[in-house]
Symmetry: C2
Subunit: 157 residues, 2 copies
């Protein structure tokens, strides 16, 4: 629960299986707005639900507001969302003092695995886990809001 703040986050592709450990949680999420200037996300994570509003990214930083939602509200709100929902399993791993969130996507985004790490400052040095692949911070194709519009399975190859 993070009522207001700036989120500083780096995002990476993943190679190898080493990330498939730690706590796993199923997520369903949809968007009440997918515009990069103001994404409004409804997320159901098990019995918990959240409404999250984000502004446009500036480098690795982004204004972010998150509020808990009653589960019943979230189940109704997710029906109001645009386009297909995002379905994924999130693995949370602690490594070298960093907390990594690795998302394995399902459905139309199956095959995509993304790792995110939240940082205290944009220049914080990170130790790369051996399963970490190419950095994709700021690549809007990998935004979950974009993956809802143009899923990974439909990307031009």
């Amino acid at each position: 629960m993070r009522p207001m703040g700036i989120e500083i986050e780096r995002k990476f592709l993943v190679c190898g299986p080493g990330w498939r450990q730690g706590q796993a949680q199923r997520y369903s999420q949809g968007y009440l707005n997918r515009a990069a200037e103001r994404t409004v996300r409804v997320r159901i994570a098990g019995e918990q639900a959240f409404l999250t509003i984000k502004g446009r990214s500036q480098g690795a930083s982004r204004l972010e507001f998150e509020y808990p939602l009653p589960l019943a509200d979230a189940q109704a709100l997710i029906q109001l969302c645009e386009g297909p929902l995002i379905e994924k399993t999130r693995y949370t791993l602690e490594q070298d003092g960093l907390r990594w969130e690795v998302d394995e996507f399902h459905g139309e985004n199956a095959g995509l695995v993304l790792a995110e790490v939240e940082l205290a400052s944009e220049d914080q040095v990170i130790t790369r886990p051996d399963w970490l692949g190419e950095e994709v911070t700021g690549d809007e194709r990998y935004y979950n809001s974009r993956l809802s519009e143009l899923p990974f399975s439909r990307w031009p190859r």
Copy 2:
């Protein structure tokens, strides 16, 4: 504070000055999404603030969720909103057991005054106050979300 529900509401134009009474409160509001299928509104009313999400209208009914927001969050969120903000003064009047909300718009919507009444059922009989004008329930031009896109002062005459 209304975490989840169906809102049943009728909306009217206003004629004559009889509505300008009762408690008056200044409102500033903007939209994180103006689409009729899923409006997401940030409203600041004095020291209070709310996030309100509404589905598409079906007759006089509409799915509505409202959550209180910290004022500081609302002040930042309103900056993320699309287009110009809606500025209005709301007069709240009790009459014949009904609670009327009369909105006098300012800025680019100056000249427009709208009365709304919330009902327990779609067929509830209402006693018309003498200042009540034409009914505009369901006329999307009068949605606040639309008035933010196409303000009253720019309507074709």
